[in-house]
């Protein structure tokens, strides 16, 4: 199915859920509300029109610093006033980030029909929560644990939501934009 047809079909199935869509650089993207996420994903997985049997990737983005000047991290600016280069223009511009602070990003692929779809689920607040996809895909388990670990987004109905890459004693969520890149935390080890 073409990207446009894919978006249209999903829109016709879930007219209230689909909040927006675009196909920037040919990637079919649909922004959906988090309310009936599990049902929507079950349709994507099982419906003959989609057959998205592979949950390729599940991640999140913190949009809180989008378009703002970000601290340089390890590389200090030279102090020389630089006039930024003109952006390389684009024929079909990207509609812009979602209004919410976080977006959970899902990438689906259908082995049978060879099409891809990206799902953006905007979530708001400091303790955001979305439905877990672990009843549908076994692979969602670890991917959601990573998003919890890195962004602090909770997944409703996840069987084992604990940190995966960082250690249990770690404080904060490192991939949030308000987590400074050079903050150090003590490594927790056995007490001697």
């Amino acid at each position: 199915m073409t990207t446009q047809a894919l978006i249209e079909t999903l829109k016709s199935r879930f007219p209230e859920e689909v909040k927006g869509s675009h196909s920037y650089r040919g990637d079919a993207t649909v922004v959906v509300a988090s309310g009936r996420l599990l049902e929507l994903c079950r349709t994507l997985k099982e419906d003959a029109a989609f057959q998205m049997n592979l949950l390729m990737d599940l991640t999140a983005v913190d949009f809180s610093a989008f378009g703002q000047v970000r601290p340089a991290g390890f590389f200090v600016p030279s102090g020389v006033a630089a006039h930024p280069q003109v952006e390389i223009p684009d024929a079909e511009p990207w509609p812009g980030p979602p209004a919410a602070r976080f977006a959970v990003v899902y990438h689906f692929y259908s082995i049978a029909l060879k099409h891809r779809l990206r799902l953006l689920v905007p979530v708001e607040g400091d303790d955001p929560e979305v439905d877990s996809l672990s009843p549908l895909w076994g692979g969602a388990d670890w991917l959601e644990r990573e998003v919890w670990d890195m962004f602090g987004i909770r997944f409703r109905g996840h069987p084992n939501l604990k940190r995966i890459l960082m250690y249990e004693e770690f404080v904060g969520y490192p991939l949030r934009k308000d987590y400074p890149v050079n903050r150090r935390q003590p490594l927790i080890g056995p007490v001697n």
């Binding site: 049997n53 990737d57 891809r116």
Partner: protein, 443 residues
């Protein structure tokens, strides 16, 4: 007779067990010799790749991608660069595509050689390991010849590659591939009908294709279950659609099928490299011998400072050896014709003001490549499966978010499924066939 009391035993494998291919901890609960429960703990090699990528410019991420899958870094380089190129809406010259394909297929062979060789060694077949590492050495010499480094190659650039292939690469490649073929033949003779090896490998670590898909497994691991999904065939990128190759699939989804699939994929990769070397468009146009005489870069800079442009026009600068292959005559082959993305040749940077400005605008802090606001996902076929980069730009000189979809993360999350019900001794071959790469798994 009274019922004997039986108790499960907890066995901690790792974090630094000799048969672990990286630092990882597997906690197994054993009933006798059978694993009844497995818990996998990862994260020991987490270095914050995604966070670090947000602090550097677009080309600055490339050295970090080398350290994802450090057995085949060129594929990571290529995946990241193609994602940013998609975001920018540019494409590289044809010769550059072929160079990338040749080098990533060579990397795929080195990755599979490491995986098969190490699994064979863990089952006692040390000879095969030595043979395969020897073949990998020949291939790494090729990589070193083209990139100047063996492991941390950082060869691709956004909009091109670092330099053209060196003279004599095709001959050296033919020689190395001949040696590799010989090693594959020898290893095949030593392993494929070896009773001990087959007994240990077949029937262990089995997973059905439904389960594999549910866990998001891709690459040789999924193909061993009988699903012929290969990014190079199903979503062709670069010039893969012009090259003929087969996608081997297995039937059982066990360790032995994964071994067979990897062995066949190496043969197919050799086929791809040979075709690509045959079809690659011609190299640089030779410079005019009268005017194109090379001079040291420092002299060129001095002449330019004095405004003596006539003396340096059309001449080739002898720059640092790390810049081999990026002379002006070769530049059109390795870089996209987009001045806002790729550095000019050194002859221009030293010899004229336009080149100097182009160089300045790309390297100074606060300038650099500035893709439009937007998001893209670009998948390539890594050695372990689909390696995808999700890059999001907010229009500034630094990526807003870089997410890598690591292929062995999905396989590792299915590890309990693969191990439960098998004997504790089957942990070694099953874990070996996963080909876990710590750098890619933990990022």
């Amino acid at each position: 007779m009274a019922e004997l009391e039986t108790r499960d035993m907890l066995l901690n494998v790792g974090p630094a067990h000799p048969a672990m291919h990286g630092i990882i901890r597997i906690v197994t609960r054993l009933d006798g010799e059978v694993m009844v429960d497995v818990d996998v703990e990862i994260g020991y090699l987490h270095r914050g790749f995604e966070k670090m990528s947000e602090t550097v410019d677009y080309n600055g991420v490339i050295p970090y991608t080398d350290r994802l899958n450090y057995v085949s870094p060129l594929i990571n380089n290529m995946g990241y660069c193609m994602a940013v190129e998609k975001l920018l809406g540019i494409s590289v010259p044809e010769r550059c595509h072929y160079i990338r394909v040749i080098l990533s297929e060579i990397s795929r062979i080195t990755d599979h050689l490491t995986c098969v060789g190490a699994s064979a060694m863990e089952l006692g077949a040390f000879t095969v390991f030595l043979y395969m590492i020897k073949a990998r050495e020949f291939l790494w010499e090729l990589v070193e010849m083209a990139t100047g480094a063996r492991l941390t190659v950082s060869y691709c650039r956004v909009g091109g590659v670092k330099g053209d292939l060196p003279a004599g690469f095709a001959e050296a490649c033919a020689g190395a591939l001949k040696e590799t073929r010989k090693v594959l033949e020898e290893s095949d003779a030593l392993l494929t009908r070896n009773r001990i090896f087959v007994d240990r490998m077949s029937g262990t670590g089995r997973i059905s294709s439904e389960d594999a898909i549910s866990y998001g497994i891709t690459g040789p691991f999924l193909r061993a279950c009988g699903v012929d999904y290969d990014v190079r065939k199903d979503c062709p990128y670069s010039v893969y659609d012009r090259l003929a190759f087969d996608v081997p699939v297995g039937t059982q989804g066990d360790n032995f099928d994964r071994y067979l699939v990897r062995m066949e994929e190496m043969q197919q990769s050799i086929r791809i490299v040979e075709q690509a070397l045959r079809d690659i468009p011609d190299g640089p146009i030779q410079t005019n011998p009268e005017t194109g005489r090379p001079i040291p870069a420092s002299e060129m800079v001095d002449e330019a400072k004095m405004g003596n442009i006539v003396a340096i026009a059309g001449r080739q600068a002898v720059a640092d050896p790390t810049l081999d292959g990026s002379a002006k005559s070769q530049h059109a082959n390795i870089s996209a014709p987009e001045k806002r993305v790729f550095l000019p040749p050194k002859e221009d940077a030293y010899g004229n003001i336009e080149g100097l400005m182009q160089h300045f605008k790309l390297v100074m802090h606060g300038h650099g490549i500035r893709p439009p606001r937007g998001e893209v996902y670009f998948p390539v076929e890594g050695a372990n499966g689909e390696l995808g980069f999700y890059v999001l730009s907010d229009g500034s000189g630094r990526p807003y978010r870089v997410r890598v979809r690591p292929p062995c993360f999905a396989i590792m999350s299915a590890l309990p499924k693969l191990l439960v019900g098998d004997m504790i001794a089957d942990l070694t071959p099953t874990f070996g066939s996963v080909n876990m790469i710590g750098g890619e798994l933990d990022r």
